[in-house]
């Protein structure tokens, strides 16, 4: 069993570095996940790991401890409907109002191993004729270097390519590489991956018309959630769109965003923008 003061020390580190909140009933989880870090650093138990932390500042060790406590569960086209909305409603709408600049920026914040941003890039590829002469940036960020490396590699197990990914997409965009499946380099090239801690200032990343911030805030406490959402909001135009996970809400957290009633998981910036996100009339879609 992990000692109480070790648990307090380690969860404090994780909390201050990432916002991830571990309640005392998660002691077993912390112990399980940090054993690998301990071993890697030549210690055979959590006690030793805690002693190393107390021994003095070691940025690399603290980073690995934090990273080990992130939950990276994800899948292609998770919840399906956000990706359908993106294609049918959000992109046509935003394109109609950005005809001059012909530039749209999308942010997948907390992208884990890349399934989310790559789902977006596959959708864009499917409709590439529509986006001819447009510049569409997809920035994908995460705190975990391990996940970012995995995402950049674009290699997925047989299990991963069978969760959420339609077989037609697998056939079109992947090829076999040993016992893994490799995503087409041209689809991968549409996404830029960067390390970014959501506790930091997203001002350094630029502005975003569409933000996917899904299944990330659930691990953070209420005040941290609110801070993150407020900072994200500052990077968005008034007609910007935010997506959160199916089990998440902004209700009672922030008033910067409001749910779009007809689309689950979708939020608009409170300060402005259309309150209705119905499918646009055909003329807008086709002019775009």
């Amino acid at each position: 069993m992990i000692r109480h003061d070790d648990f307090e020390l380690l969860r404090g580190i994780v909390k201050s570095r990432s916002g991830l909140t571990l309640s005392p009933d998660k002691a077993y989880l912390l112990e399980n996940r940090l054993m690998a870090v301990a071993r890697k650093w030549g210690m055979n138990d959590i006690d030793g790991l805690a002693a190393a932390v107390r021994g003095g500042p070691n940025e690399e060790l603290l980073r690995e401890i934090t990273e080990a406590m992130t939950t990276n569960e994800t899948l292609f086209f998770r919840d399906q409907s956000p990706f359908e909305q993106l294609q049918k409603v959000v992109l046509p709408r935003l394109m109609a109002s950005r005809k001059e600049a012909r530039h749209i920026r999308i942010w997948s914040a907390g992208c884990s191993s890349g399934q989310e941003p790559y789902s977006i890039s596959m959708i864009l590829r499917e409709q590439s004729a529509l986006f001819k002469d447009w510049r569409i940036d997809i920035l994908a960020t995460d705190i975990s270097r391990t996940m970012l490396d995995k995402a950049r590699a674009g290699l997925y197990t047989q299990f991963e390519v069978q969760r959420g990914l339609p077989i037609a997409m697998l056939m079109k965009h992947f090829k076999q590489a040993g016992d893994k499946w490799e995503l087409d380099p041209s689809i991968r090239a549409m996404v830029e991956f960067r390390e970014f801690n959501l506790l930091g200032d997203p001002g350094t990343l630029g502005r975003f018309d569409i933000v996917f911030l899904r299944n990330v805030l659930i691990y953070l406490d209420q005040p941290t959630k609110a801070q993150v959402l407020e900072k994200v909001c500052r990077q968005m135009p008034t007609d910007g769109v935010l997506y959160m996970g199916g089990a998440e809400t902004v209700m009672g957290v922030t008033e910067k965003f409001q749910p779009v009633s007809e689309h689950r998981g979708m939020y608009r910036v409170t300060a402005g923008g259309p309150s209705q996100w119905k499918t646009p009339p055909a003329s807008i879609a086709s002019n775009a």
């Binding site: 399906q80 047989q158 299990f159 069978q162 969760r163 339609p166 077989i167 037609a168 056939m171 076999q176």
Partner: protein, 121 residues
């Protein structure tokens, strides 16, 4: 209630698949090869077929060809479920009229994901 015909020569796989499909609220009928499966379809078209490839008597691909020629045989959603885990076989199956494709080993999450893809969940 939607119906699913589970076609596999392994009794164990049929049992596992039946349990998963029943949990997803499907009524399950079983067949141990393609020939028996065609007989079942003649008695009544299922909404879905979960189909093994390699089977004695009539294999999955032959069954699929025969099914699609039956009256009403274009209706069932056919999901292959096989150890043939390479792109060439996937392409062959889809060309023959399969709607989705599962590479074994599978679990309930994969089955659920694939039946969502074909619009039955």
């Amino acid at each position: 209630m939607k119906s699913c015909l589970v076609v596999d020569d392994s009794r164990v796989i049929r049992m596992v698949a039946r349990k998963i499909m029943e949990e997803l609220a499907f009524e399950v009928v079983e067949a141990e090869d393609g020939k028996v499966a065609i007989e079942r379809c003649n008695q009544g078209m299922p909404d879905a077929v979960l189909l093994d490839w390699h089977m004695p008597v009539m294999d999955g691909l032959e069954f699929l060809h025969a099914l699609r020629r039956l009256p009403g045989g274009d209706k069932p959603k056919v999901v292959f479920c096989t150890t043939k885990n390479d792109l060439e076989h996937i392409q062959e199956a889809i060309k023959a009229g399969a709607d989705e494709y599962i590479m074994k080993p599978f679990d309930s999450e994969i089955i659920q994901s694939k039946f969502m893809q074909v619009g039955l969940l």
